[in-house]
Amino acid sequence: MPPQEPTSRRAFIKTGALGVTSVAIAAAAGSAEPALAAPRPADAPLPITPSCSGHETPSSVEGPLFKPNSPERTNLVTPAITGVLLALRGVIYDRECKPLPGVLIDFWQCDQNGDYDEHGFSLRGHQLTDSAGAYRLDTIVPRDYWGRWGRRGAHIHVQVQAPNGPVLVTQLYFPDDTQAYGRNFAAHNAGDQFFNRACVVTLGPKQGNRYAGRFDFVIKTTA
């Protein structure tokens, strides 16, 4: 097992009914079509937009399964990927709550069976935020796993970097009442050594086989 680092608790992003911004709504509406003709989970209602507190999103360990050179794409749902669809949307802010365009955001996660793609790049992709500082990720809710890489609750790994800025390495988690794969998310969250409630995505109601999710990041732009 790789070395494990302590989770930072320097910051906490408020989630709630307040602070819905026009910028965030415009970003959530999205624009570009994904490259693949795969199912798109984009039409579920979006959850309430978190506010920007100005506090930096907490970091977490990178873990052992990051691969550089992931494809640039916003849709990770290729024909092989089944599972509970997730349309994750959000805005990346600086600590003055100014949306940041051109921010590199790189996602990697396991699939519906708890498998990471180590040979290739399935469920791996990077993108740049648009002119409103927004990103959009069409993916699936990952499964918790147990295997050679240890035992983890469901999570999505992220690296975020403003141009010439420091890299924020963190992980996103799922609410305790998430319904996917018949798994007990509350139990797996409670048992996950890196779980951080400050990094839980906000989910809308599950509609069919899909969730809409929301997570805004606050990052440093200079070291």
């Binding site: 640039e72 092989a80 069976n113």
Partner: protein, 353 residues
Amino acid sequence: MPLKRIGALVTALTLVTVATPSSASTLGRGPWTPTPAPVEKGDITAVAALDGKTAWAVGYRLVSDDEARPIALRWNGKTWAQESELPRDSFPQAIEVRSQSDIWTVGDGVQHWDGKSWSVADFGRDPAGYFLPEGLDSVPSGQAWVVGRLVADSVKDQVPVVYGWDGSAWAKQALPDVGKGELTSVVSLAPNDVWAAGFSATSPQTSLVVHWDGKSWTRVASPSVSGAHTWISALHAGPGGVWAVGGSNAGAADRPFAARWDGRRWQAALTPNIADGRLRAVVSTGDGELWAVGGKGAVTVALRWQKTLNRWVRTAAPDVVVRGVAAVPGSSSLWAVGIAKKGDLVPVITRTR
């Protein structure tokens, strides 16, 4: 550490049109027939057969949400039953059956079955990182090879590694400088003729092939898909030479990749363009047929080599998320193991009639 920015390169590639796997349904189940797996929940990750009445499969059984037990199953010609439990946390990924009392598995570590019990091979600690084996093979004289990677902190910095078994001890092999990457598969044709393959973690990722001539390991030029990440997942010495199969990714869905050593050089072989049809195994049956099987998640792909057409052609695939495939020596049968496409970690074992 700053992230690499390769956006411009890959943006163009995401526009490549990909095929959907719709043709798979028209092929039907074909010759594949499931046999009951004696595991309600878990994963069957590898299979190997001695003959039509003797085969082994390994994986793990989830006995509760808190406990996974690595297991070995045995086929007696009629049914599968659990024969043994492997050492704790071994998570087997590949198996090599030499006889009923001489079986190797690799996963988290290397394990050996002597017919009565499992033992764990001692590889010591390597300063280059934690040893994660991926593939193994042996020759009748007793020599065996295990390939994989040494992982210091992350797969992003992993380096390929080969260990050789001389009948009494494992020894780390001196490899040429092939940089970061992984060896996923090995095939030994003779004590002085061994191939290992995987991928080199360049940008983009390329195929990696090394060869042992009895004296030293050297890198041998191998094809990759231009402008795409390429990897080799399996090797096999079969009709027409040594075969390597894997996948490539140019930004959207994967597609199959295959290459062949014809005695002089490695050359890419034609494969059908199947979205997410990465190949995981290549085997040949007793009747001389060459199969490549793979896929991921909802997509399962089986190909047969058509010598007259000089290309791989799609055929009926098993209805399983394929983890491992094995040919039954002296017959035309194949085993395929993995998990069901529906449900949560439901093991499946299937075979061709």
